[in-house]
């Protein structure tokens, strides 16, 4: 089971977190037993908006996250 924490605070949502979440949820539909998604409040890491969006895949913290980056990390762990 891969645990994904995705920040959906003001900063992260503005710069693409909602779109990453969309894609993650689509992926979860394909692998319902293997992915857990937690949408979390601001993780206080985005003082500089350049660090947003912030996503955690298990213990791996990703700043300035982009969809393809997050998805490939998740897929690595599923396989």
């Amino acid at each position: 089971m891969v645990k994904v924490e995705i920040c959906v605070g003001s900063h992260c949502s503005l710069v693409g977190a909602l779109n990453i979440l969309d894609t993650l949820e689509e992926l979860q539909e394909e692998y319902p037993e293997q992915i857990e998604i937690n949408r979390v409040e601001c993780l206080d890491m985005c003082g500089d908006i350049k660090n947003a969006p912030v996503v955690k895949v298990d213990d791996d913290l990703i700043t300035s996250a982009q969809t393809q980056m997050v998805i490939s990390k998740v897929m690595e762990r599923i396989k």
């Binding site: 959906v8 605070g9 003001s10 900063h11 949502s13 503005l14 710069v15 693409g16 977190a17 909602l18 779109n19 990453i20 979440l21 969309d22 949408r39 409040e41 601001c42 908006i49 969809t67």
Partner: protein, 503 residues
């Protein structure tokens, strides 16, 4: 719908960063010189990332800054610092003026216009049906593949259909393909040019351009300055707002955050939708079909502009009823005479509606959800962490459902059924091209007795260019929030009596 709608790209990022910078400078009462730094703050690399040069990237950001402030597009023919132009603009009337939607000409990559191309899927087959079916003999079989003579081609598409290898594609300029009223033409340099006589300011081309070369103007700066000056600013927020700011941000949290930003009050535009659906039902019951052949709804401004600019013969059959925005704004202003009203919505063309003679005294500012999200970031308001106040209960189920395609007609129909025992046939136009087609049908007389709903954006207001969510996702939030209303029908809404604005 443009393929880019709902996808987060670097274009979206830059656009939002510009909004956030404008909001930041407005909030800190920055000097004009500070605006000169925005292109460098946003494009802070040493080499170009997106285009041929970093100087061009920054110049495009500067053009976005100008329009973000509400200024006109300017060709780069005269030496002028960004801040100089801004100082002149802010010193004078600082009002946004038409045209609302503009091509940033030097950002346009001059995509070829509608054409058929042979791709390298072509196997140069023996049958070559493409050249056989071509009615104008435009296809020759050359050394490696079939070739289309663009001078001769009439874009009939027969070759594309005949090819067994899917080797022929039809290619359209994305901006022009997204425009349902054919308002995008070419200038002398082959760059996209908006024919303002045809444009209805729906904003779909802004989303569709893969090079980010089209932008609309905004009022972010003027709104924030008004709040900073201590003016009594009150917000009316369009029904598609729920969910737009993330899954943990409830409607109540959005309202509280707006108050933290300095708004004295927030009302749902759906309250205005309840007024409007009752008024439109009354007009329908009185006039259709005796005095008027059919009734077109009035809430989508781009839809009404399609009638004005493209099918003027049907103009008088579009309802005269005020839009939900106007009703909601009037109800606020009647209760608070010296207040200023900001409409917050998914819509680009509402910015234009607010400039019209009928509306300019009612609505003072219009901003989009996307612009508001940037303002929250600039003001450092963390939406997930605000404490939500009391429940919102301004509007009925059907008023809240206005944001989804079909919702407007359904709300009016329910009123007609219960109050007047009329169940009219309904026609829904979904998307700009469909709006024009539907109005042509109405003109031809085939929609007699119909209630016609027009939505310029596919899916309704939730598909608007100023949204942050993918259209389907936004639609689900709208349905859920509508279900939570304490009232089902507009006529059950207890807020209507106490707030009834004069027509």
């Amino acid at each position: 719908m443009s393929k880019l709608k709902g996808i987060y790209t670097d274009i979206v990022k830059i656009r939002r960063m510009v909004f956030a910078e404008l909001a930041r400078l407005a909030l800190k009462d920055a000097e004009c010189e500070e605006f000169d730094k925005i292109p460098y703050r946003i494009i802070d690399t040493e080499e170009a990332t997106y285009r041929s040069s970093i100087f061009k990237e920054r110049a495009i950001v500067a053009a976005r800054v100008r329009m973000g402030l509400g200024m006109d597009y300017e060709t780069n023919q005269e030496h002028k610092l960004l801040s100089e132009g801004i100082r002149d603009f802010l010193k004078n009337d600082n009002q946004l003026k038409e045209p609302l939607v503009n091509v940033i000409r030097f950002a346009c990559e001059k995509c070829p216009t509608n054409a058929h191309f042979v791709t390298n899927n072509c196997r140069k087959c023996l049958a070559h049906p493409c050249s056989i079916v071509c009615p104008v003999d435009a296809i020759t079989i050359e050394e490696h593949a079939a070739v289309i003579d663009q001078e001769k081609c009439i874009n009939c598409g027969k070759c594309k259909e005949a090819c067994p290898y899917e080797a022929i594609v039809n290619y359209e300029r994305p901006c022009a393909a997204a425009c349902g009223v054919d308002a995008i033409e070419s200038d002398d340099y082959n760059r996209a040019q908006i024919n303002q006589d045809k444009c209805v300011s729906c904003g779909q081309c802004i989303i569709a351009c893969p090079f980010g070369a089209i932008a609309d103007k905004s009022m972010i700066y003027q709104l924030l300055k008004s709040i900073k000056k201590g003016e009594d600013v009150r917000a009316i927020i369009a029904p598609s707002f729920v969910g737009q700011f993330g899954p943990l941000v409830s409607a109540e949290k959005i309202v509280t955050a707006l108050k933290e930003l300095g708004m004295k009050e927030v009302r749902e535009v759906s309250l205005g939708a309840d007024f409007a659906s009752l008024h439109e039902a009354e007009l329908f019951a009185e006039d259709i079909p005796e005095k008027q052949p059919y009734l077109g709804t009035s809430c989508c401004p781009s839809w009404t502009y399609v009638a004005d600019k493209h099918v003027p013969e049907v103009k008088d059959n579009i309802s005269e009823s005020s839009s939900p925005m106007i009703f909601a704004a009037k109800s606020v202003k009647e209760d608070n005479q010296n207040s200023k009203v900001v409409f917050i919505g998914p819509c680009v063309s509402k910015k234009l509606e607010a400039l019209s003679d009928k509306v300019k005294d009612e609505v003072d500012f219009v901003i989009t959800f996307e612009e508001l999200a940037a303002i929250f970031v600039a003001a450092d308001i963390e939406l997930t962490k605000v404490d939500a106040e009391e429940e919102i209960r301004d509007a009925s189920y059907y008023g809240r459902a206005y944001a989804n395609a079909g919702g407007v007609a359904e709300a009016i129909r329910q009123n007609l059924k219960v109050k007047y025992e009329i169940d009219p046939p309904i026609t829904k136009a979904d998307g700009l091209a469909d709006c024009r087609k539907t109005l042509m049908k109405a003109k031809a007389g085939v929609l007699a007795g119909h209630l016609i709903e027009g939505m310029a954006c596919e899916g309704g207001c939730v598909g608007g260019p100023g949204t942050l969510l993918a259209t389907k996702r936004g639609a689900k939030y709208v349905d859920k929030f509508a279900d939570e209303s304490p009232y089902k029908f507009a006529f059950e809404n207890e807020n209507l009596n106490k707030n009834e604005p004069k027509e």
